[in-house]
Amino acid sequence: MTTVNNNHYDVIVIGGGITGAGTARDCAMRGLKVLLVERHDFSTGATGRNHGLMHSGARYAVTDHESAKECIQENMILRKIAKHCVEETDGLFITLPEDDINFQATFVQKCTEAGISAEIIDPKQAILMEPSVNPELIGAVKVPDASIDPFRLTMANVLDAQLHGAEVLVYHEVIDVIIEQDRMVGVKLRNNHNGETLDAYATVTVNAAGIWGALIAQMAGVKINMFPAKGSLLIFGHRVNHMVINRCRKPANADILVPDDAVCVIGTTSLRIPIEECDDMRVTPEEVEELLAEGMKLAPSLGSTRILRGYAGVRPLVASDDDPSGRSISRGIVTLDHEKRDGLAGFITITGGKMMTYRLMAEEVTNLVCQKLNINKSCETATTPLPGSEPKEETKRFSFSQKAAQGRHGTLNDTIERGEAANDALVCECEGVSVGEVRYAVTKLHVHNLINLRRRTRVGMGTCQGELCACRAAGVMCNDDKSAQKAINDLNGFINERWKGMQPVAWGDNLAEAQLTATIYQSLLGVDKLANERRIEYYEI
């Protein structure tokens, strides 16, 4: 049996979502010897399947004061430490004729109590500020909502963890835990690329696997009551709104529209599903209908805007420990010290919470880890900028692709090789991704396939959904005949994965685009015939 570097770690963090990445960063910054493991790619779970909304906390102000306060505090922190992941758009909470306008006053008061600036705007003024908003609105409140790129944010946390000495294994799945007497001492890992297994040992193991954390706990003989709640969202082909638009009422389905980069996202629906379905979630026609109908109430022009794709994520809702019926759901951060709770030392679960509060979750769990390790070092993640967001004089950028890459990688953009025609050639015209940026992502950002590359660079995320860029990128990524066959399989998988999101919304321009893609990839290239493996990673939305 092999072990990772024959080494013993202070802490193993399970899960490459934003919580795991943030925890790995915090632990590493406090001088711990860290191993971060992820069964697929970074941000494949809930982290990569939400609105990309940086909540001001206003959404929770009326129903959950504590969450609202946490949100606004973290919101202000992320603006400083993750500048290159955040777009400061501001948000509106609108009241429509069908809503109760009296709710607005309560809303503003509760926002203020939580420390969220909430300014009542005249509806006419609101239309001038955000021309896409439903012109029938009867009330509007401006709050400091913003847009955030979760892929970028996760990667920046991983990069910083690595800079502080953390080791990272992607495509390594925990298949069992190693328990000696009443202590968890490590995990058994399977390399999902080649099937090899290996052991890794640590004093403390942190379970940050989102909804899948219930399964990790199960391996350790510990029960966590989790309720997977599926949320579906739709991405539109261009940016209809430039401010976040919410409904000013108690949180409900499909009432948030977020501008992200060149697109916008409406969501979400909410549906309890069995945990077995979490690995292959599909957006249903009924969900598409609901999202469209509700979305058009926020911004009527969504009705005539092309939908690029649909996708679904799953919220890791946790039942409160003090409720034996399991019905009372905790919306806040849940840190479970299994030593105290279940008599299993060396094992901690961090769950609940939301993307917005990932840093706080990481801080809380790292505090507990340090306590177990008798380390007395304070958390610095709230004040230390993430890689890419360090203060630095703006370099002048001239080309579209340089500007696009600057947006994606922040100050790290300077490490992308440029100047030579061979590096500057454009792989993806929609998103301005150069050969140099692809190479940078492959060597520095744990890119193993085209879908990983998409998460790091946005290749194939534009309106064409990978029409030509996927083939070009695959060409850049492969080096020899052996990798050529792998790249063809990868290309085939990528095309199918893009289709997974398009299929639920296959009408209008999408259907035309789908036929064109099929003409190019199947009739012209014959990629489906050349692929010798039909493994389609359904979890890889």
Binding site: R282, R472, A484, L491, I495, Q503, L511, Q515, L525
Partner: protein
């Protein structure tokens, strides 16, 4: 304005019908939006490449006899003779091809696959028998920094078939300018730069330098000759060793060339070409189409005795789908949506036969369109807009385009 025949759509099917009718002495006008699916093509036309199971077809004529009853090939009177006429029509337009209807040959795809096909434009690399590669040692010569000719895949695909492959790349100072702008290294731009005899000679020398000795075939990206085949043929001769072209990622220079040459042939025969325009409305009286209005010819009605709808499938916007229905946007003729609800138009696995691919306008046995269930006696449909075939799965796009167009031309002339 009054014509004998008005054709809507300027792609392969519309131009084929237009040329055939103009050659028969008819006064033909063609309204075209401009783009054609030829621009996404391979430089070859497929007739029937794959059987129901996806296996390659070697003898297409036999396979055509066995196509299912909904396939448009059933409406052709004599497939074999129409196929011969198609080849000659291309020839007269200056488009020489290899291939025939009795046996498919194989084209090399841009990522190194082999696909069965019917007619290949001159200069394209073709293979008679996919189980027996004709070359022992091949040089793949790309243009430096041109990303749309994925040589690594091509080399790997050819090596899998037992061919020894070396990958080379050449450039010319004149291409440096393109290279400086990262969006410019695309096939059509390269074709525009390498136009003069002088540059063709220089390029041939560069290719000969890297691949002149020891190879029994030199394969090049098909990026020369947007308007005629002169330059691309000249380069092959100048290289002095056997050399052929392989299709690139779109835009397809051979495809653009084919459309350009067909259009030239059509206008040389006296055809009228309204370009960059589209039909917005049909003027029907009883079961006859009297005329059409277009977006650009403000108020003018184009009248004709017969009309041909050749606007292509969804990707060409000849068919449109909205939230609830599939429709034909130009004239509002009846569409066969296979009786399917939107939720079942598309299947979950992209490589499955997708039901929407087989949707298209309804026609009678003479390829005449219908409106509200009634046949329009002087309105025909040709090409990809027709229902009943899946050109992605069966590889029959070129054949459906050209042969239905020729059949309709015959039906009208009769």
């Amino acid at each position: 304005m009054k014509f004998d025949i008005i054709i809507i759509g300027g792609g392969l099917s519309g131009l084929t019908a237009g040329i055939a009718l103009a050659e028969a002495g008819k006064d033909v006008a063609l309204v075209s939006a401009g783009q054609s699916s030829l621009h996404f093509g391979s430089g070859s036309l497929d007739l029937l490449g794959c059987d129901e199971k996806g296996n390659d077809i070697y003898k297409p004529l036999d396979a055509i006899k066995a196509v299912n009853s909904k396939h448009q090939y059933n409406k052709l009177e004599d497939v074999s003779s129409l196929a011969g006429v198609a080849k000659q029509l291309l020839e007269r337009a200056g488009i020489a091809t290899t291939g025939n209807i009795t046996s498919n040959h194989w084209r090399i795809t841009p990522i190194g696959g082999l696909m069965p096909t019917w007619l290949s434009m001159e200069g394209m690399a073709t293979i008679e028998d996919p189980d027996q590669m004709p070359w022992r040692k091949v040089a793949l010569v790309n243009i430096i920094n041109y990303l749309d000719f994925p040589t690594k895949f091509l080399a790997s695909g050819l090596r899998d078939k037992g061919v020894e492959v070396d990958v080379k790349a050449v450039s010319l100072p004149e291409l440096q300018k393109l290279r400086q702008s990262p969006t410019e290294m695309r096939s059509s731009n390269i074709a525009k730069v390498i136009e003069s005899n002088e540059l063709i000679v220089k390029l041939a020398e560069e290719v000969y330098k890297v691949a002149g000795e020891g190879y029994d075939m030199v394969l090049l990206p098909a990026v020369l000759g947007m308007t005629n085949s002169e330059k691309s043929q000249q380069l092959l001769k100048l290289i002095k060793v056997p050399a052929r072209y392989v299709a690139t990622l779109p835009p397809s220079v051979p495809g653009v060339r084919m459309q350009t040459m067909l259009r030239k042939r059509f206008t040389a025969l006296g055809g009228t070409f309204f370009t960059g325009d589209q039909v917005t409305e049909g003027l029907f009286e009883d079961n006859i189409l009297k005329g059409v209005k277009t977006a650009k010819l403000d108020g003018t009605t184009l009248e004709a005795d017969n009309f041909i709808l050749a606007t292509g499938s969804f990707m060409s916007r000849g068919l449109k789908a909205d939230y609830n229905r599939v429709y034909e946007p130009a004239l509002g003729v009846d569409v066969d949506d296979l009786g399917l609800d939107r939720k079942t138009w598309a299947k979950i696995d992209v490589t499955d036969a997708q039901p929407y691919m087989e949707m298209g306008v309804k026609t009678d046995e003479n390829l005449r369109c219908m409106r509200n269930g009634t046949t329009i006696s002087n309105l025909f449909a040709v090409g990809s807009i027709l229902s009943g075939h899946n050109s992605i799965k069966r590889l029959d796009a070129g054949g459906v385009d050209m042969l239905t167009a020729l059949q309709v031309a015959n039906n009208i002339i009769k």
